[in-house]
């Protein structure tokens, strides 16, 4: 060790001296503890239990406590603690569950004092009371904590970590509070932390969930009475303020491995030391206010560190540690390595609209003359200068300067990109149409060169003579000096020299704003600043990036208003990809290309064809006509040229064009461009799309790509992560029960049952968002393949039944999709009824209006008679074209004729209790919940209140015997309700349904 230094600290009389040193132990250590005189340390492990004296130059073995011939498991220590009041008193926790105390004052060789064998499983932790001489606390794997009075033979009290009704959870750590005489904290394998009063073993004072997964350790702050640091398997160290009513997380440090031990550093209010249980062997000292880079790091150990202890409770410079690598170390803070020194404070990031933020070491930037650090007149504070703390000798080392280079206003607009991405058609139609469409899109956006390119592609690859003359003229006739989008036209004049040669790309007319911000080491500010700069450039531009507004534009009249008025003609599939598709590694190419795919492979030998169409700015001079293009010339003839063109576009930064053409042309050019380049284009384009939140387009691109590496991007299924609403933990196993707190995460606002599905309503009206659940238990029979005889015998006159699989209305369902219905019946007037029991107010409304305006979720507060509902009153002549596709349940009743009633209603709507003749009700889309009472049992309800209100107000109070029969019928199921049965309905989703009344 080269940089060993000696430190002497005066601590009120006694002086601590020492250097960084280590000593070899015979066996791996599990824990260490320091004597209060700061001159001795005890090391305990599976097969070691020794006391070492800490001398100035070395550790000297003082006492071996493992005596006796045969090693007993009682000596296999998981933990050891030295009493801070009594230099002779030690306690160990054995892996077999025994708690042993040791009295060094005993005259014999065997110092063992007492043996407590009360725990059934390994004892993980022992802890002496900080001021009371005889009180010892233990925490065990068996889920119990025990408090021992050393003057007695058995434990005084037992605390159970059992969660409410659950199984007991293993205790990982117990720590007496340093300030509150009666308080101790315990941590558990399930992530909880409990606070106990030593006098109240019946229940804990407080419990909260601190970590995801086991909490391995905790430590009370030596000065701040309310602060508790916890470390967990989730790699976090959290600092909790326990003085408030609810434990409040005040700091959180993210480490790189599970946290095995945590110890506050003496005399440094914000420092704590941690070590890990796996993988990472170093000891870190963190400033909790600066959670990303450790303040100091000790790298001496070769295996995981198992125990750490500050040598003296008032000296911040000596740290002792024991490790699995069988060494005991004393670390001097002065010798610690400081990751900050090695940190690379340079960073560079592009904003979405082309802004560039660049951070570099302050020293680097400051050397440049004539530049002043940005002093800040912003809304947000740019600076915060931390006052230097003597304990933080390195503070300020990592300060860096941030420069932000902004796009000139206007050039930054990327709306052309978004528009193009959204409107381009990439597949699903013949090539010619795709090219035409895309050319049109580009033209409408004023990107004439791109438009021209599309038109040329069409001419090249599609049989001649089909190009509409107008189209051709427009696109080709337009000459252009039209530059390709230049994406990097911002001013870089303030670039720090450290980055490279000074680049000047000063094409701009406007002023460039360039700021250098002097930042203190806090990194968080950078984001702030960055955001703000980005916002500033978010001004919509009148003209589109890169397309030079030129006189020539007048040749080609383009009305920007009209350009956008046209709806895009293609429709993206409703789902970006099939709900669950079989994962195939090699997806087929776009299907529409298959017909052309048999064209022979083009080799690069025809590259001389390039001379036909020069790809430079003289482009505009060529007037393309049919004559130029001899129809005998195979399309492959141009392949090399087209590939060059794609590369050209990509190099110019218009990767969108490159990818779009690549997809549209498919096999025709794919082989001529190497896989890697393609992949590169695809990833760049997808990345761009995603930054603009164009998820659907990006997904379409992924899907259409033929590159393996790309198409696998959407082979990962979508995952929905749900967190528990109580403890905020992810609910991994099931969506509705939290494993940790054993509670159901979301309860139905109305019926107080568990919500298992995902029907959360967006907020529409004044009511709060609510979720409605299906019933807890369906009490209506479900029957598949019911015969008519059985139906008549068991159900027709006696009870409701749900019929499955009797009819197949999938065709009808297709016709009932929102689009189809709107297309066919959008203009027909429908008659709406109020959703109450007795009186019916009727309102007539065009169907389209109803669907668009009234199908929103029911406001739980509104009255039934204010809620309009489309059900029945159907105009059969108008709707007959639809109804004839419906096959009703095949069971008729003698003397009755079936009549249809068709309806659509929003989630939460429904008809309150009422009765009429028998009938069937089938759900086509959505789900409908039913409540049924036999005719003799008139339910309790308010005729003008909605079913939703009834469910919320009345239902929960019903005695089990007074509950209705209930069920939720899904799409495709049919409910039969007998004559005069009371029933109320509630649409759980926006539902389409049809009833067949037998009357």
């Amino acid at each position: 060790m080269e940089k060993m230094s000696r430190v002497t600290t005066a601590l009120g009389g006694s002086a601590l001296t020492g250097r960084t040193m280590h000593c070899h132990l015979d066996a791996p250590a599990n824990a260490i503890s320091v004597c209060r005189d700061a001159a001795q340390v005890v090391v305990a492990g599976r097969s070691i239990f020794k006391i070492y004296a800490i001398e100035e130059e070395q550790f000297v073995e003082k006492l071996n406590l493992r005596v006796g011939r045969k090693p007993s498991l009682n000596l296999s220590c998981a933990d050891v603690v030295w009493h801070q009041m009594d230099e002779n008193l030690l306690a160990t926790a054995a892996t077999n569950g025994v708690v042993v105390t040791w009295n060094l004052g005993r005259p014999s060789r065997n110092k063992q004092d007492q043996l407590f064998t009360e725990h059934k499983r390994t004892v993980n932790k022992v802890c002496f009371h900080p001021t009371e001489a005889h009180v010892l606390l233990s925490g065990s794997q068996d889920g119990f904590m025990k408090c021992f009075d050393l003057r007695r033979k058995d434990s005084v009290s037992t605390f159970s970590g059992e969660a409410l009704g659950g199984q007991s959870e293993s205790v990982r750590d117990v720590q007496f509070s340093i300030r509150d005489y009666f308080t101790f904290a315990s941590t558990f394998e399930n992530g909880n932390v409990q606070l106990w009063d030593i006098r109240r073993p019946d229940r804990c004072e407080r419990m909260f969930t601190a970590h995801n997964g086991p909490v391995f350790c905790c430590d009370w702050h030596p000065e701040d009475r309310g602060w508790l640091a916890t470390g967990g398997r989730d790699k976090m160290v959290k600092v909790w303020d326990m003085t408030t009513h609810r434990a409040k997380e005040v700091h959180c440090v993210q480490t790189i491995a599970s946290v095995a031990r945590v110890k506050w550093r003496p005399e440094c209010r914000h420092h704590l030391a941690t070590c890990s249980m796996m993988v990472d062997h170093n000891i870190y000292v963190w400033d909790v206010r600066r959670p990303f880079v450790p303040a100091a790091m000790f790298e001496e150990h070769r295996d995981v560190t198992t125990g750490i202890a500050w040598r003296h409770p008032h000296d911040p410079s000596f740290l002792l540690s024991g490790s699995k690598d069988s060494t005991l170390c004393q670390h001097l803070f002065r010798d610690a390595s400081q990751p900050v020194e090695r940190a690379n404070p340079e960073g560079l990031c592009y904003g979405l609209f082309g802004d560039l933020a660049f951070a570099a070491k302050e020293s680097l930037v400051a050397t440049e003359s004539g530049r002043k650090p940005y002093t800040g007149d912003r809304r947000h504070p740019i600076f915060f200068k931390r006052k230097l703390d003597p304990a933080e000798p390195f503070a300020g080392l990592a300060s860096s300067a941030l420069s932000v280079f902004e796009m000139e206003p206007g050039t930054g607009s990327m709306s052309w990109f978004v528009d193009t991405a959204e409107r381009y058609a990439l597949a699903g139609r013949p090539l010619a149409e795709l090219c035409d469409h895309n050319a049109k899109v580009a033209r409408e956006l004023g990107r004439n060169q791109v438009a021209q390119t599309w038109t040329m592609l069409r001419i090249i690859y599609c049989s001649p003579g089909l190009v509409p003359a107008t189209n051709l003229n427009h696109s080709v006739g337009k000459g252009s000096s039209c530059g390709l989008p230049l994406m990097n036209s911002f001013n870089l004049k303030d670039m720090a020299p450290g980055l490279g040669s000074e680049t000047r790309l000063d094409r701009s007319k406007g002023d460039t704003r360039s700021d250098t911000v002097l930042l203190d080491s806090s990194a968080t500010l950078i984001t702030n600043e960055d955001n703000e700069e980005t916002e500033g450039s978010d001004v919509p531009a009148d003209y589109l990036l890169g397309d030079v507004e030129g006189e020539e534009d007048e040749l080609y009249l383009l009305d920007p208003e009209h350009a956008h008025s046209e709806e895009p003609e293609y429709v993206l599939p409703q789902e970006a990809f099939p709900l669950r598709h079989e994962i195939v590694d090699t997806p087929p190419g776009p299907e529409h290309l298959q017909d052309k795919a048999d064209s022979p492979h083009v080799s690069g030998s025809e590259a001389d064809a390039a001379s036909l169409v020069p790809m430079d700015s003289s482009f505009s001079l060529i007037s393309v006509s049919h004559a130029l293009y001899d129809s005998r010339l195979p399309p492959d003839f141009f392949s090399a040229l087209v590939c060059d063109m794609l590369r050209f576009y990509a190099e110019q930064g218009d990767v969108q064009m490159a990818v779009s053409v690549l997809i549209v042309l498919g096999e025709r050019v794919r082989k001529d461009i190497d896989e890697q380049t393609q992949e590169h284009w695809y990833t760049s384009y997808i990345d761009l799309l995603q930054r603009f939140c164009l998820w659907n387009v990006s997904n379409q691109v992924v899907k259409l790509s033929t590159s393996r590496a790309i198409s696998c991007l959407n082979q990962a299924s979508t995952t929905l992560h749900v967190n528990c609403s109580h403890c905020k933990r992810p609910m991994s196993s099931r969506g509705w029960v939290c494993d940790r707190c054993h509670r159901c995460a979301s309860m139905c606002a109305v019926c107080h049952h568990v919500v298992k599905g995902l029907f959360v309503w967006p907020r529409y009206g004044p009511g709060a968002p609510v979720a409605v659940a299906e019933e807890e238990r369906c009490t209506v029979e479900r029957r598949a393949d019911l015969s008519y005889a059985e139906f008549m015998q068991h159900y027709a006159f006696s009870r409701p039944v749900i019929l499955q699989g009797l009819t197949d209305n999938s065709r009808f369902r297709v016709l009932c999709s929102r689009e189809r219905l709107l297309a066919s019946f959008g203009d027909s007037v429908v008659r709406l009824s109020t959703a109450n029991t007795y009186s019916y107010r009727k309102v007539d409304l065009p169907f389209q209006e109803y669907v668009e305006q009234m199908l929103h979720p029911q406001d739980p507060l509104s009255m039934g008679n204010d809620t309009l509902y489309f059900f029945g009153d159907n105009n059969f002549t108008e709707w007959a074209s639809l109804f004839r596709h419906y096959s009703p349940p095949p069971f008729g009743l003698l003397g009755t004729t079936p009549a249809y009633s068709f309806g659509i209603a929003g989630a939460g709507s429904g008809v309150p209790f009422h009765w009429h003749g028998p009938g069937f009700s089938e759900v086509i889309y959505g789900r409908k919940r039913w409540f049924l009472y036999p005719p003799e049992k008139t339910p309790e309800f308010h005729p003008n209140k909605t079913t939703l209100a009834w469910l919320r107000d009345t239902y929960p109070a019903l005695a089990p015997s007074a509950r209705p029969l209930e069920c939720t019928i899904q799409a495709g199921e049919v409910l039969y309700f007998p004559d005069r049965w009371w029933h109320a309905t509630l649409n759980l989703d926006t539902s389409v349904f049809i009833s067949t009344f037998l009357s």
């Binding site: 599976r46 498991l73 892996t95 390994t122 199984q167 709900l579 079989e582 999938s810």
Partner: protein, 488 residues
């Protein structure tokens, strides 16, 4: 014949949307009818010698399709698919083509078919599981059908399985299935080998690899040794094993991930395979007799307590399975009896919760969480019943079983009194446990029936879940410890 047109696409059936399913089914129906029609025409037209071969081939193709349909008609969670499949089969039969019949076994050899839940009579939770499984795999395998006794576990199991075998990960999909094949073959489980072979081919694996391990890439061959040790004597894994694999892969990039994934997915599969093993035993008749022999042998051997030695075992594995691994004679040996001294593995020094989990999660994100959850569910699963008794605390029994298995692998809990095991587990149960855990291929119905006669099948399945999870944890602990040592 244009291949594309007659290519049967089954994936539409996995959709949750009944219309999509219907379209897919209709498509399949038409293709099958076309094929049937073709065959009939060929039959009716006078003898044409050149057609003999292609005829046989297309008949073969058709038979495969029909077999798949038969499977669907019995084992699809969606009622419409079941019905329609049956309908198609019927209509093919009416055209005079012989249709396949089910072999008559349920999903398990040990549990009478009628005791097992019938597809179609499941409750909502089970149905969701079935639908998930079907959507992900395109089938409901025996394992799922047996494990649905314990839906909570099944859910976790399927999730882990799905994540390991189908989600994004460091290994290509076909590698994963190949590893699955290797692992399953180690225990001669032909059912599982077949499943993985199918999946392997489905994701584009090279059929040549299936001819034997020597045809697979070097990387996979290197796993052979590890696979062998892990399957039978995990306590012999050392950091050298890991090193060996690692070295070869050094050039291939993020190496650690590889090892990990590798080890992982095959533990996983191994677990699965055992499940298979005990729960449903292969359906093949031929192999049965062989197993029967072995089992009689075992029963005699039982005299000497539950100590059996695989050295005496004569039965060599069926050829088609054995080609996936080398060194067929390598099997389980008692931890305590084999010659060289292997130090006891102490849980207090290296355990799943503290160490294994962190390592797995570090090497293969999220997998640690999934496996952890699965262990928890398996270990804590209880209905507080035992046979006909209710409100029983079964934790002691579960712990005894768990620790007994770990004990067989040389893993020791300092805080456990191993005397409890002898009091709680009787001999026939121990025999069963040991067979299942160490040589699952030798489990017989007799063994299955002879322990815990009073208990329900679901409880026995529960026990099996406990066994395989305990075993999997044991293997993982050894392997992960080796990786840890390698890394330090």
């Amino acid at each position: 014949m244009a291949e594309g047109e007659n290519e049967v696409r089954w994936d539409g059936l996995c959709s949750r949307d009944s219309t999509t399913r219907e379209t897919a089914l209709e498509n399949i129906r038409q293709i099958i009818l076309r094929k049937t029609e073709c065959l009939r025409l060929v039959k009716e037209t006078p003898y044409r010698p050149s057609d003999g071969l292609s005829n046989a081939i297309s008949l073969d193709v058709l038979n495969k399709l029909l077999a798949h349909l038969l499977m669907l008609s019995k084992r699809c969670p969606f009622e419409d698919v079941r019905e329609k499949s049956e309908f198609i089969l019927k209509s093919v039969q009416e055209l005079g083509i012989r249709i396949p019949r089910p072999l008559g076994h349920g999903p398990s050899r040990f549990i009478p078919e009628k005791e097992i839940l019938q597809v179609g009579s499941e409750d909502a939770q089970m149905h969701t599981l079935f639908a998930d499984s079907f959507a992900a795999l395109g089938r409901l395998d025996n394992i799922t059908l047996v494990m649905v006794f314990h839906p909570q576990y099944l859910e976790s199991f399927l999730k882990t399985q799905h994540y390991l075998l189908q989600m994004d990960g460091p290994l290509p999909l076909h590698y994963r299935h190949y590893i699955g094949i290797m692992a399953a073959a180690r225990h001669q489980c032909s059912y599982l080998v077949n499943l993985h072979v199918n999946d392997f081919l489905h994701v584009g694996g090279d059929p040549k690899w299936l001819n034997g391990l020597e045809n697979a890439p070097q990387k996979l061959q290197n796993l052979g040794e590890l696979n062998k040790v892990l399957a039978h004597r995990p306590w012999l894994i050392t950091k050298e094993h890991i090193e060996k694999i690692h070295q070869v892969q050094r050039d291939t990039s993020p190496q650690n991930l590889y090892i990990q994934q590798v080890s992982d997915s095959f533990f996983e599969v191994e677990a699965l395979m055992e499940k298979m093993r005990q729960l449903q035993e292969c359906r093949d008749e031929e192999e049965a007799s062989q197993e029967e022999m072995a089992s009689r042998f075992e029963i005699e051997k039982r005299e000497s307590m539950f100590v059996f030695s695989s050295d005496d075992e004569e039965a060599t594995p069926a050829r088609d399975v054995s080609r996936h691994f080398e060194d067929t004679s390598y099997g389980y040996k008692d931890f305590s009896r084999h010659g060289m001294h292997v130090p006891t593995f102490r849980v207090q020094d290296y355990c799943w919760e503290d160490h294994g989990y962190s390592l797995v999660n570090r090497l293969y994100p999220d997998v640690g969480q999934l496996i952890d959850e699965k262990f928890h569910i398996a270990y804590n699963l209880t209905y507080n019943t035992m046979a006909m008794h209710k409100d029983v605390d079964t934790s002691m029994l579960r712990r005894a079983i768990w620790n007994y298995i770990h004990c067989m692998f040389g893993i020791r809990y300092d805080d456990y009194d191993y005397g409890e095991i002898n009091q709680l587990l009787d001999r026939s149960f121990k025999v069963y446990i040991k067979t299942v855990v160490c040589t699952p291929e030798k489990v017989t119905k007799r063994m299955y029936d002879s322990f815990w006669r009073q208990f329900k099948h679901s409880e026995k399945v529960h026990v099996n879940l406990l066994l395989i999870e305990a075993r999997m944890q044991a293997e993982l602990l050894y392997a992960l410890r080796a990786i840890t040592r390698y890394m330090t």
